[in-house]
């Protein structure tokens, strides 16, 4: 059930260069939110900027009735978020969209995260580990200092590997190199992916080659965030080989790897 909520900021602080974590007191989001779902955040009390910003649920803490958002400051909306003080009340809409799914038969899974795409994987890993899956986490970052959440995954009990573009930490290269190796080494039942588009495409390619099902979380510019404006579509294959447009906000943001059609 989507709700328009006002939530107090319990904490909002930098965790790496450009990256902030904001924790909010928000009962319905904490009790109803699922990994892979997101919220639309009103980043300013006035008309500028005009639209809300979609941000994934990063941590869902039912006991404390809080959720956290992990966001990268890339423009004025996220900058305004980063400047909002603890104690302030902000408006959110959520939980939105369809999150990641898993079944009892999935036993060994891999989570592939790039940049701020790592955010929703933390909530996902948490749930998967609660369900006693074997969770491999592959993280990509530009450079060591922009790597986020490694500790979170490790302390939960996930098996973490890291790649950095500049080689400052872990594997020197792409996170998808790690996935290639992992597919080779371990029999995976499912791969979950969230990150920049080139990474997502490569994950889809690798998993398809290996015939492993995969779920990808997509991003698109959003108007409403709830499925009303049809602003945020992605191309999805239809049976007849053609395509249709599905709403990232409502039919996604998580899609099956094989259904999405990427333009090149």
């Amino acid at each position: 059930m989507i709700k328009s909520v006002k939530a107090e900021i319990v904490e909002n602080k930098p965790i790496a260069p450009e990256f902030f974590r904001m924790t909010l007191k928000a009962e319905t989001l904490a009790s109803e939110g699922l990994p892979g779902q997101f919220v639309m955040v009103k980043v300013s009390p006035n008309l500028e900027p005009f639209l809300r910003r979609p941000i994934s649920l990063h941590q869902i803490n039912r006991e404390e009735a809080t959720v956290s958002l992990l966001y990268q400051v890339v423009g004025k909306g996220t900058r305004l978020m980063s400047e909002t003080q603890k104690g302030k009340v902000i408006e959110l809409l959520g939980p939105l969209g369809k999150g990641f799914t898993w079944s009892d038969s999935d036993r060994v899974v891999a989570l592939v995260g790039g940049g701020c795409g790592t955010a929703p994987l933390v909530a996902l890993a948490h749930s998967l580990l609660e369900d006693k899956k074997e969770v491999h986490v592959l993280l990509g970052a530009q450079t060591k200092e922009k790597l986020v959440c490694e500790e979170d995954f490790i302390s939960m009990g996930a098996k973490v590997k890291v790649a950095t573009d500049d080689g400052s930490y872990g594997h020197h290269g792409f996170v998808t190199d790690l996935l290639k190796n992992l597919i080779h080494d371990v029999a995976l039942d499912m791969v979950y992916s969230c990150g920049p588009l080139p990474m997502t495409k490569e994950v889809v390619k690798l998993t398809q080659e290996a015939s492993i099902p995969c779920q990808i979380s997509l991003e698109e510019r959003m108007g409403c965030g709830i499925g009303a404006c049809i602003g945020c579509v992605c191309k999805v294959r239809t049976k007849d080989g053609a395509f249709t447009y599905k709403k990232v906000c409502k039919d996604g943001p998580v899609f099956k790897g094989e259904e999405v059609m990427f333009d090149d």
Binding site: L47, P49, F50, E91, R221, A228, G231, V233
Partner: protein, 303 residues
Amino acid sequence: MTNLAVEVAGIKLKNPVLTASGTFGFGREFAELYDLNLLGGVMVKGTTLNPRLGNPPPRIAETPAGMLNSVGLQNPGVDYVIREEIPWLRQFDVAVIVNVSGHSFDEYAEIAARLDGVPGVDGLEINISCPNVKGGGMAFGTDPKMAAEVIKRVRSRTQLPVIAKLSPNVTDITEIARAVEAEGADAVSLINTVLGMAIDIKTRRPVLANIVGGLSGPAIKPIALRMVWQVAQTVNIPIIGMGGITTAEDAVEFLLAGATAVAIGAGNFCNPMTAPEVIKGLKNWLSQEKIDDVRELIGGLKT
């Protein structure tokens, strides 16, 4: 008791606040957020004869105090709307106005005919102003002769109230308003979006895949208000005013300028509770100003 009810083109509205076409889907999503019975009316997504895929993404760009969209009329087609959406909307005590978009005179007429007599449909809003479809849409609304012809054809195929939705992308909107009035439009709604563009300087590409899109939101409110006022001076049919409304005060401005009702478009995005908040705010403002009938405001601008 403050009266909020108004009548537009024979359609009774319990209050003068509607939701604008294309920003509210068919109401299902917002029904999760609030009781649709609160609304004066719902203007559903632009509906074409056959299903349409719309334009490629990205379809949304944010602009100062507004946004661009190039959705391009993605919709499931009129038959689906009649079968699946209208019956669902009927459960609410709210006026349902179907936004009709076409590529040819015949298409407009045919859609109107199919919707005629469908239980739960209270009126048709004829979208002759969509800036997001090539070779059609806006072209009908920027030429008075073509606008008149669309309304004439639609008029001859339906008993439903016909509301002509006007484009702001014209030299003289009163000319178009007069033309559609002459052919029997029962009301006009305005404004549709203003044609605009945004550029991503990093990629050196337009933000929208469609290159151009329709500008809406508070940025265009002054343009919309001016056009509502101009049209109100010109025609005798009622006006549904829209363009950048986000508060009850904005709604009052449109009523004073001459609108009988107003619609909330992009305002539904910046705050999904905008429509019920505008209705509540309007009620409060009226009682604070000791006005016992909202209709006193309509066209009440002193110049």
